[in-house]
Symmetry: C2
Subunit: 380 residues, 2 copies
């Protein structure tokens, strides 16, 4: 990087939520001046940056004006105005991940085509574009329907299991996918810098909350065979290279019952499946993202310990000013790290924080995590 | 603590330097609203808190007005107006460490008397109060002279080795101490919460920069015998208990050539001798300080790895806008974590940051630290 950036670099982050917040916790070590754009005036980052701007991430002018005097822009959410980022890139602002990568990943349809073009294993799919094509496509039930755009945290996904689910199907442009009979959802986070250095974090295993369709439980490192882990990590590297992305890329995958790995979807940024790296790995995903976008040598990603991450979701049935129950009892367990996201209001299943539970023994990490899940509640 | 503090607690920190900055990095996880008072409008914390106030830490009204609407106050520097803290305590503001502890520790003479009264081993000493008493005391050269108040980072300490040094002696109230023929300077950080839980971090070994009289090199954990480590840790616990302190207490000690441990001085706050805990221990000193003042269960202090901490001091001969040389090369070494303090201007020996070097092998951690010391420079 041409500029001696320490203390001078003006870094913009599109989005000021928990990912931005944890990115700032690391950016502090680099003396970076952080500018945040977020539509929520109470965003978790609002008091932790050099400059907070409240505004829409999808509006061209807002994003363009936010970025035009900055040196570099990164994201903590994909749903941003890409045209504005393209214009900024042309004017010399560094945008990592690159706008073309964000454009591709914003559209799950383009992601699927990219997988196909690059021989990346993924479940069989077809597109539908409206109510009409949904009818005429003669789809074989059961299937998964995913909106091509704007889905997040399980929103924008529907399981069509029987004819009865059909009235609920989306009529917007979407992907129809085969339901994968998977044994486990796995993820690998990979980082790539501008000179092409590339490094993966160890593969992790995820368990989802079926009600909220959010990662609820994550175990690192995985105990699947070396071959499977290596295959997943090589796949993540291949995708990062095929994309020529600069920054972090989270690759969510299915491990099928027959032992095959299918890529599900991508996120070009720090990701929920990497939160345990803060305590569980030598370098955290947030530090790694900064190293990657600043074109610095990538850090060692080895696991330090077994780590289980649980999301701290707003308790069902509570809405309003957040209160945290059981913090003291949870912290009395050794190896428990609570991260609250600074969100003033809770609602059912809102991500209010996460907890990382480390333990030299995997089974103890898991059982302590289950204890914390019982103890720690976000109510109102 | 009566108040459900997460998200509501208004925490004031007196001082907005690097210790406050690293405390904020941890406080983010607790949703705490941080208020900072610091005399420097460019203080490292200025952009990382809910409210930054520029003002004197020694002025009664400034400290009192800063604190009167807060729930809790802590410090990152001892040189603060204690009378204001006493008034705030009387009005119900929680002050941790307590004002009486700060008052005692502010005055190295009171510290020495406290050691004596509580059978805490320390070097022989006597007081002098002015030029007159310095003359009439008939002191045996060589000795160390320390100002009772306002010394920090080696300032306020003079070695009187020969008659020639006498004209430089302080004439302010000071302590005259025997020069200790020590083998090693060691330190233990101990935490105590309001219900009396107490926990030490493993003992560390320090090496000083003789020119700047600053900790330059710190090794954790120590390889001295279990007996010595235990004795140092028990001593730290005893002092914390004798003081009934709430919060963190750094205890700096000499290990003499005859194997005796003598307490040198105390700091009632996070301390330079605990920076390696961020990467090197399960719980960091900053997280532990917050746990202690919030009366939460104290965290596990075990070492994760061998860790060496080096201070990143402003290079001699450079003054002005800070530039960082060798960051890329240093980060190419595995296990190197750089923490920059966000100080705009450098001057000779100013603490501009620190680096923690971890390695499963102690000798490699040390040799990598020496490499980083060669590579990484703060110039202007």
């Amino acid at each position: 990087m041409a500029k001696d950036f320490y203390g001078e670099l003006q870094l913009g982050i599109l989005g000021g939520g928990q990912l931005g917040r944890m990115l700032i916790q690391e950016a502090i070590n680099f003396n970076v001046n952080v500018h945040i754009l977020d539509p929520d005036k109470n965003a978790p980052c609002r008091k932790l940056c050099n400059h907070f701007e409240c505004g829409s991430l999808s509006d061209y002018d807002t994003v363009y004006n936010f970025g035009k005097n900055l040196d570099m822009i990164t994201i903590e959410i994909e749903k941003v105005n890409v045209e504005a980022l393209e214009a900024l890139e042309e004017e010399g602002v560094i945008v990592y991940p690159q706008s073309r990568v964000i454009r591709l990943i914003q559209d799950k349809g383009l992601q699927k085509q990219f997988f196909k073009q690059n021989d990346i294993p993924t479940s069989a799919f077809q597109f539908i574009s409206n109510a009409e094509s949904l009818k005429t496509a003669n789809l074989l039930i059961p299937y998964v329907q995913k909106l091509r755009k704007d889905g997040y945290d399980g929103k924008g996904v529907k399981m069509i299991r029987t004819e009865d689910d059909l009235p609920n199907a989306f009529t917007e442009p979407s992907i129809i996918e085969e339901i994968v009979d998977f044994e486990k959802e796995i993820a690998v986070i990979v980082a790539r810098n501008d000179r092409g250095d590339i490094k993966t974090f160890p593969m992790v295993e995820m368990e989802f909350n079926p009600q909220a369709n959010l990662v609820e439980f994550l175990i690192s490192p995985s105990t699947y065979s070396f071959e499977i882990q290596q295959q997943a990590e090589e796949l993540a590297k291949k995708i990062a290279n095929d994309l020529q992305i600069v920054g972090l890329l989270a690759v969510e995958m299915f491990l099928t019952k027959s032992g095959e790995i299918l890529v599900n979807e991508l996120a070009p940024r720090p990701h929920n499946s990497g939160h345990q790296t803060i305590e569980g790995n030598i370098t955290s995903q947030f530090a790694q993202h900064l190293r990657a976008i600043f074109n610095l040598p990538l850090g060692d990603t080895s696991a330090i310990s077994n780590a289980v991450m649980i999301n701290l979701l707003g308790e069902d049935g509570y809405e309003g000013l957040a209160k945290y129950q059981g913090v003291e009892e949870a912290l009395a367990i050794d190896g428990v790290y609570i991260h609250l996201y600074g969100k003033k209001y809770t609602k059912p299943f809102r991500k209010m924080g996460h907890v990382c539970i480390v333990n030299p023994e995997r089974e103890l990490a898991i059982s302590n995590a289950r204890k914390v899940q019982e103890i720690l509640k976000v109510i109102a």
